[in-house]
């Protein structure tokens, strides 16, 4: 009895881990992280190209089934599955594009962020920045005195770029760790609390400052919700 329930548990675990590593599930994770993170994350190049192939396959299946005079219910189930995957893909790409729209100057001049974009996103960011630059120049900057015409600086005497909107990394996010993590340095709170290291149990929800777990999100150890 005990052994059979143990085997059942194991097979359930297997099933869970199998489900958790399908590409759609991975895409869902990437999508959730991207949605919750204040800054743009690394583009999941391999995952996205695999998902695109699968969508094409699914489209062919739906086509085949619907022309083959199959049960309309099963066709509509396939269609629904396809629609959901398509939504995830679209939403993922859309969130990234909207982040680029919002912080284009910052992304363009920060090499680390720039390297996270896909080739097409880079093209888009370049065109966009050019367009916005031209727009600002035409409406405002060309009418200002010579020393005040930079998009990135308030005037020529500013030493660094002080007119570039940046994402707010101090915001709080909901997250969950997959494994036991320790030694997380908190970046907020009273100064004497900051020296204490924070630990995370797997599967426990935390509401935490994004800056403190930024590196762990990037390395995939923590998922955002």
């Amino acid at each position: 009895m005990a052994s059979s329930s143990g085997a059942e548990g194991a097979s359930l675990d297997d099933y869970d881990s199998l489900i958790a590593t399908t590409d759609v599930e991975l895409l869902k994770r990437a999508w959730r992280n991207e949605k919750a993170a204040p800054e743009i994350l690394r583009f999941e190049f391999h995952l996205i190209s695999r998902v695109k192939e699968q969508i094409q396959l699914m489209e062919e299946t739906v086509e085949e089934k619907s022309s083959g005079g199959n049960n309309p219910l099963s066709v509509s189930l396939y269609q629904m599955d396809l629609d959901r995957t398509l939504f995830l893909l679209r939403s993922y790409l859309r969130i990234r594009i909207q982040k680029i729209e919002k912080y284009m100057f910052h992304i363009l001049k920060t090499e680390e962020l720039w390297n996270r974009l896909s080739k097409d996103e880079k093209d888009f960011a370049r065109t966009c920045t050019g367009d916005l630059n031209r727009h600002l120049e035409e409406t405002v900057l060309s009418k200002l005195p010579e020393n005040y015409q930079s998009v990135l600086k308030q005037s020529v005497i500013s030493e660094e770029d002080d007119m570039v909107p940046e994402p707010e990394l101090d915001t709080f996010v909901l997250c969950r760790s997959k494994e036991y993590l320790t030694g997380i340095q908190l970046e907020d709170g009273p100064a004497d609390d900051r020296s204490k290291l924070f630990e995370m149990e797997p599967g426990v929800l935390h509401f935490i400052c994004y800056k403190s777990i930024k590196a762990l999100v990037e390395s995939g150890k923590i998922d955002l919700l």
Binding site: M80, R90, S91, F124, L136, V140, Q154, S155
Partner: protein, 199 residues
């Protein structure tokens, strides 16, 4: 007082509803630009005066220096206000592509200045070119799908012979109701030509 006009300009934008635009206030805008030129003239004349008195511009700390500083700071502040006005309007305008698509209705277009219309067009082109490269249309599917089909009522006479994605055509006469694929219906809904019937 210096900077008051610029502040009005920013307030005008900030007091509007988010995502809504009012007409580009070119009158106020020109006033701020003129104020900037005035500041610059006075700034230059003060600097000239310091130089004529034989003082070093880097180290002189007399009344003229602080006067020049005030003009410089007022100018920088005006620039920030002008930029904030145009930049935030541009952001709202870019978001229109997501909300209502690539063609602006007349009543919104009237509120934009010429450069802003141009910016909208350019941005819409950039977005289209990105979507054609990744082969995914990002402007549909804005909400997670529940059912592949939705019930809609036509609010506007769209006409017949509209080609749907399953190669059938439909007649969308005004007030008629249809069961459509969500991806087909979404473009009409965002333009206000159809409404989704729920429940």
């Amino acid at each position: 007082m210096y900077g008051r006009t610029a502040c009005q300009l920013v307030k005008e934008f900030a007091s509007g509803d988010e995502g809504q635009l009012v007409s580009f206030n070119s009158d106020l805008f020109q006033q701020v630009v003129a104020e900037c030129s005035q500041h610059h003239l006075e700034l230059q004349s003060l600097i000239r005066k310091i130089q004529e008195e034989g003082l070093d511009i880097q180290t002189a700390r007399n009344a003229d220096h602080y006067g020049a500083l005030i003009h410089h700071l007022a100018l920088v502040r005006n620039k920030r206000c002008l930029m904030a006005y145009v930049y935030n309007r541009a952001e709202t305008i870019r978001n229109l592509v997501w909300k209502i698509g690539h063609v602006l209705p007349q009543e919104i277009e009237e509120k934009l200045c010429h450069a802003e219309e141009e910016h909208f067009r350019k941005h819409s082109t950039a977005l289209k070119s990105y979507m054609s490269k990744v082969l995914v249309d990002l402007t549909v599917d804005m909400v997670p799908p529940k059912d592949p089909y939705i019930k809609v009522r036509v609010l506007d006479d769209i006409g017949d012979g509209i080609l749907l994605s399953d190669d059938k055509t439909a007649n969308f006469a005004c007030h008629s109701m249809h069961l459509l694929k969500r991806t087909d219906a979404e473009q009409f809904i965002s333009r206000g030509q159809m409404e989704e019937l729920t429940g």
